[in-house]
């Protein structure tokens, strides 16, 4: 069974080809990283996978299921969760509520039960809370449980967003630049968590990242993009020393 893969994925916005015929496969249980200079199309691939906008060409397959044409919320229901590069939390809600919204795909109660807050709703809420508390323990968020997100520092929000994605109990986790805006210490924590997510929780991770030390540390395989095209794929070391990658980041050597 194919776990996750995209085939000949492409999207154009007017005359701009943002992603051009990109294909890759993610194996169950690995950490797969997409790197590339600014504007290479990394986040666009994430948005295509999340069906935020439709792909112009190609297929996205998750567990032998074609995702094309589904509504965005169906992606989450199938078990794909994501974080955002610039943090999209529910600002005017507490951390606990944010994480509970992550449990949305596990809800089992009907509207009329909720209006009466019946015993079934109460039991379900208790179960959701227990699941959320596990995430809180995992990410050391105990201290912030009842704080409003709007007042929290950037580093903490980044972790909350990771927690919200984990609360959905995903099979595949998409992380859009998990270390952007974090200091070295927080980046270090993030690396530990990604390792724990992969090895401890058994969740496959697809990640976009710029910080090469983090990429080297946690990734099993890396895909390098430039101007919407895949230019190299392999282990972190292989990709980093690939001439096309060096050229994309640093420019080509002037002809002698």
């Amino acid at each position: 069974m194919r776990f996750f893969g995209v085939q000949d994925l492409g999207v154009r916005f007017g005359g701009v080809v943002a992603v051009d015929n990109v294909s890759f496969e993610v194996q169950r249980g690995e950490v797969y990283t997409i790197i590339g200079p600014n504007g290479a199309g990394k986040t666009t691939i994430f948005n295509l996978v999340g069906l935020i906008y439709p792909a112009s060409t190609g297929r996205i397959v998750f567990q032998d299921r074609d995702l094309n044409g589904l509504a965005p919320h169906r992606v989450a229901e199938l078990g794909i969760a994501r974080t955002f590069q610039n943090i999209e939390l529910f600002e005017h809600a507490t951390v606990l509520q944010n994480l509970l919204i992550g449990r949305h795909r596990h809800r089992r109660t009907a509207l009329w039960q909720e209006l009466a807050f019946s015993g079934a709703v109460k039991r379900a809420e208790r179960a959701q809370r227990e699941a959320v508390e596990k995430v809180i323990d995992f990410l050391d968020l105990q201290h912030y449980r009842d704080s409003m997100v709007a007042g929290l520092p950037y580093g903490v929000r980044k972790v909350i967003e990771l927690g919200r994605a984990l609360a959905t109990e995903p099979k595949l986790l998409l992380l859009d630049e998990p270390s952007s805006g974090l200091n070295p210490e927080e980046t270090n924590d993030m690396a530990y968590w990604i390792e724990d997510i992969q090895k401890g929780l058994g969740i496959t991770v697809l990640m976009v990242e710029h910080d090469m030390s983090l990429v080297q540390r946690v990734s099993d395989r890396v895909l390098a993009l430039n101007e919407g095209r895949a230019i190299a794929q392999g282990t972190p070391a292989e990709v980093q020393s690939h001439p096309a990658v060096i050229e994309a980041y640093l420019g080509a050597k002037a002809p002698a």
Partner: protein, 358 residues
Amino acid sequence: MRFLFKTDYDQDLRLFKHGGQGFWYGLLFVVLLAAPWWASEYMMTQLHFIGIYSIVGLGLMLLVGFTGQISLGHAAFLAVGAYTEALLAAAGWPFWLSLPCAALLSAAVGIVVGLPALRLKGIYLAIATLAFGVIAEEIAARWESLTGGNSGLHVKPIQLFGATLDGDADFYYLVLALTALCCIALANLLRSPTGRAFVAIRDSEISAACMGVNLARYKTLSFALSAALTGVGGALYAHKVSFISPEQFTLLVSIELVTLVILGGVGSLHGAVFGAAFIIVLPQLIAIVKDYLPAAVAGAAGLQSTVFGLVLIGFIIFEPMGLYGRWLKIRTWFELFPFYRKGMFRRQKTYMKSERLR
């Protein structure tokens, strides 16, 4: 000062977070139950209207304050509820049957109006709902065979379980029961997955969708519930004033309802009730003050609208959290005395949000 030590998940699930809250709400309820004994006839009428407007306010609060969708056409749902109730009562239907019908029909209209909301945002949604409100008012005026047109419609008193309910106290208890029921039902909804999904849509549609919230379904649901509550309010309103005509459901009423929500405090159920009380009491205050004003000002047309407008602007500038926000501050001042700080409720600046996903 009160410290809440949490030792059980159920503590966060309860409606009343501590015994004190239960006590005060209980006391309030008892005082309200005894209203026919302490309130004058005039005050009873005011209480009727506050109850009715609270129900309508709760409906609009759910939509504006919790789902983040604006509506400038809510008077139309009020009209749907009022006319449905008036016509069914005239046909001899009992109240326990006609009220759900009024609510359901309003909800159905709400779903139809909610459909554009799936594609429109912010000011554009406001324009669409405003247009709907104007159309509904026009229909009420032109469909004379059904609504009686501009000459209006008389509403028969409430028929409930074979008896005619026309006493002030009886009607008061009916309104009080329905208001309490709506408050509790909405409070329940908001601590359940559906309520959280609404809040998620309000704060970030894109991440709500990525968490598995079906945007189309929940936005439509929010419109339907909001319209249903407004319809219930409209039905009660029809019985209260016993005569309805299109002039009672104009654009100004819709704006008054939005004002109610903003003055009360966007994003709190208390706000809907506070706002309702304020909207009902303010015209009375204006009427009292009028006697002391120079004739040129007191007699000027649109004095009330001007005052409403000024109050609204004042609240938006000085107290964006509305009456409920003010109440929270006062309560916190007492709870923390003498440690209250001025900046405690200052709104934090939001960090950069991605623009391209909007």
